[in-house]
Amino acid sequence: MASGVKPRVKVPKSASAGEAIIIKTLISHNMESGQRKDSDGNVIPRSIINRFVVDFNGQNVIDVALEAAISTNPYFEFEATVPESGEFTFTWYDDDGDVYTDTKAIEVG
């Protein structure tokens, strides 16, 4: 497992039905591009988060393909409309096969 990887998510605890809420996500990750060389001239192998998916109650919200040019600690901020109470699941896919997840519940009153 890549070291020091830790996902973070900020979602409001409550919202009104149909309201567009702001969701912020950040995952600490080196995002090694595969373009760099170490001091001996050997290529440092690519190691990035290559996909980021958010679902709400089983329904897909966003699905992002990340490329090697994205910098360290990828940050995503987006809006989502929330029709009902439920749970967001956030999933990051690492080049090395690891999958990191986080979930956040939201109340719609």
């Binding site: 020091g4 830790k6 973070r8 900020k10 912020k24 950040l26 600490s28 910098s71 360290t72 600690n73 940050y75």
Partner: protein, 284 residues
């Protein structure tokens, strides 16, 4: 020849015009972190400063986009270091079987500590930076190895200590036993170094608000350290920043943790007495 002269003239006219647009003082934005921590980014200059009336945090010289990083801790990339610092805080290390938390409890209990460093230590008979104090704790109380002065563990814990002191006014003591060290720092601040023959004051006192090529010169305050710099995407320590500045004058620099830099840190910190502790901040 004639053509050359004309193009030279128009180039001059262009650069003068640009300078008129680009020169700007600190902006008027106000900083409140997480909608709850009010930060004083402006204050009356301490009485020992003869040439400056008002002191400004470097935050006031940054663009709105860079400033915005500090409005919400979630958006502040420096807080990743603080989170690691929190883990380190309660990690037991060394022969005494203790962590920072064993004595100091929650990091929040350390509120205000960062604001008064560098500080005279009576027992040791020297002015100590907060890094020196941490390493003293590690070696003499925890029985652990000293951290590298500008290493990640050290910088993350200093960032943690800064973060719990945010909003507290910087208040380093410059008289009493610390006075001679403070005066040494002042001497260094006004000494021209390097092939470019520049002192700290030439940029940060004589020219703050002006542009140094593409960058907006600040007063060189250190109330926001450790600082996450967008140019190297990591937390930067005060001494590393000093070293970078002196290196850019094409001088041989003092080394990190040297008595010269400790003195300079005390002096530069004292030029920010009255500003809030703002670290970990985000800068260019």
């Amino acid at each position: 020849m004639r053509v050359n002269n004309r193009s030279l003239l128009s180039a001059l006219a262009f650069s003068v015009g640009m300078a008129g647009v680009a020169i700007a003082d600190a902006d008027d934005d106000q900083l409140t972190i997480n909608d709850e921590i009010a930060i004083a980014t402006e204050a009356a200059a301490p009485t020992h400063m003869e040439n400056v009336k008002t002191i400004y945090s470097g935050w006031r010289y940054r663009s709105d986009e860079t400033q915005a990083f500090q409005l919400d801790d979630f958006d502040n990339p420096a807080m990743l270091g603080v989170e690691e610092g929190i883990d380190t805080w309660s990690t037991v290390e060394g022969s005494a079987g203790e962590s920072c938390a064993s004595c100091h409890e929650d990091p929040e209990a350390m509120r205000g500590v960062k604001a008064v460093y560098p500080k005279w230590n009576e027992e040791a008979g020297e002015v100590r930076t907060i890094e020196m104090q941490i390493n003293d704790c590690r070696e003499n109380r925890m029985g652990a190895e000293a951290w590298k002065y500008t290493g990640d563990e050290m910088t993350n814990v200093v960032a943690l200590l800064a973060s719990v002191s945010r909003g507290v006014p910087v208040d380093v003591t410059i008289d009493g036993p610390a006075q001679s060290v403070w005066e040494q720092g002042k001497e260094i601040y006004y000494t021209r170094y390097g092939l470019l023959e520049l002192s700290c004051a030439n940029c940060h006192e004589d020219n703050y608000g002006n542009m140094i090529r593409a960058d907006h010169l600040s007063q060189g305050q250190i109330n926001g350290f450790p600082t996450y710099r967008l140019k190297n995407t990591k937390l930067n320590t005060v001494h590393d920043r000093f070293r970078g500045c002196i290196r850019d004058t094409m001088a041989e620099t003092f080394s990190v943790a040297s008595p010269e830099f400790v003195a300079l840190e005390l002096y530069v910190a004292s030029r920010g007495n009255g500003l809030s502790v703002e670290g970990p901040s985000v800068r260019n």
